[in-house]
């Protein structure tokens, strides 16, 4: 196996010319058991650095610190819960239901605005009512229809006053 690349990297490492990525390559190389004799003496350095990197505080330290700053260690613990597929979709159902209700209410409101049965003036209302009554009375005897229109007009006058 050709170790030229590793030897070159190592030379550049001593000269502080390697990038962090190249240093990671070196570290990974020296972690393996199968290192050639010429490079073996340097393996210890990288092993030792791994050792130092593994040094850490005990678990009780974190708990002690949280107590010191008044943050309860158990406050932020989240319990893992297994969710079914249908349960995962529940928020979407809820959102879709809410949207449907809002659309229905909005549509109903729009409809009530469009079905405006008030008229701009009394004359317009009277004229529309008379036209409607005349349409109804087509085919009835002339006197009866005239009497119906007159009665209806009087009623409208009374209502609009």
């Amino acid at each position: 196996m050709d170790y030229k690349y590793i030897e070159q990297l190592l030379e550049r490492y001593w000269e502080c010319q390697t990038t962090l990525e190249e240093e990671a390559i070196l570290r990974n190389f020296f972690r393996q058991e199968d290192v050639p004799a010429s490079l073996l003496p340097y393996r210890q350095l990288f092993i030792e650095e791994d050792e130092i990197a593994a040094e850490h505080l005990g678990k009780d330290f974190a708990e002690k610190m949280l107590q010191l700053v008044g943050e309860d260690a158990s406050v932020h613990v989240c319990k893992a819960r297994r969710l079914t597929f249908m349960r995962r979709l529940r928020p979407f159902y809820r959102a879709a239901g809410l949207v449907a209700i809002m659309l229905t209410i909005g549509d109903a409101a729009q409809q009530s605005f469009n079905d405006d049965d008030t008229f701009a003036s009394q004359q317009v209302a009277e004229q529309i009512a008379i036209d409607s009554l005349q349409n109804i009375t087509i085919g009835q005897p002339e006197q009866q229809s005239a009497a119906l229109v007159t009665t209806s007009t009087d009623t409208l006058d009374a209502m609009t006053r």
Partner: protein
């Protein structure tokens, strides 16, 4: 800064600070005290975090200063880590042969014998994976100075390894 909490913002720095403090105080209990003081100080200053560019760099610098003060006050010669008894060995190292462990100890001694600045820079670069720029900002020196210190540290170790192995 949004959603700050001691648990998620400050506490994750503990082990990193501990490794640094340990390399300076050479004493596990004292290093733990230094980390505790540092974390509390950083947390107490959370009102000013917006004025701090890099919170981790600030914490590391605070930790280093405290550890140096402590080492000075104790008049301790920070030459060796031999007095540390309970450093947890990783599974990886526990699988090494006795000979390999002896050699590991030699390298550890070489590293611990470095002057504090060289040792700290080597730790920040080789153990914590910091860029030259980050190290320079943390220690308030230039990137060139960082490289000079690191070069000296690595060269010393290389030469000693070569010497010990008759290369």
């Amino acid at each position: 800064m949004e959603n700050i909490s001691f648990r998620t913002t400050v506490l994750p720095l503990s082990d990193r600070l501990f490794r640094l403090a340990l390399r300076i105080t050479m004493n596990r209990a004292e290093a733990e005290d230094v980390v505790q003081d540092t974390l509390l100080r950083v947390w107490e200053q959370r009102g000013q975090w917006e004025q701090i560019d890099n919170l981790e760099a600030f914490a590391i610098a605070t930790c280093r200063n405290r550890a140096l003060d402590l080492a000075k006050r104790a008049g301790r010669n920070t030459k060796s880590l031999d007095e540390i008894e309970n450093i947890q060995l990783s599974t990886f190292n526990s699988q090494l042969s006795l000979e390999a462990r002896e050699q590991v100890s030699l390298v550890r001694r070489l590293m611990d014998d470095l002057p504090e600045m060289q040792r700290t820079i080597m730790l920040l670069r080789d153990i914590e994976g910091k860029t030259y720029q980050e190290i320079a900002e943390t220690l308030d020196i230039s990137e060139t100075q960082v490289k000079v210190y690191l070069y000296r540290a690595r060269t010393k170790i290389k030469e000693r390894i070569k010497h010990e192995n008759g290369l």
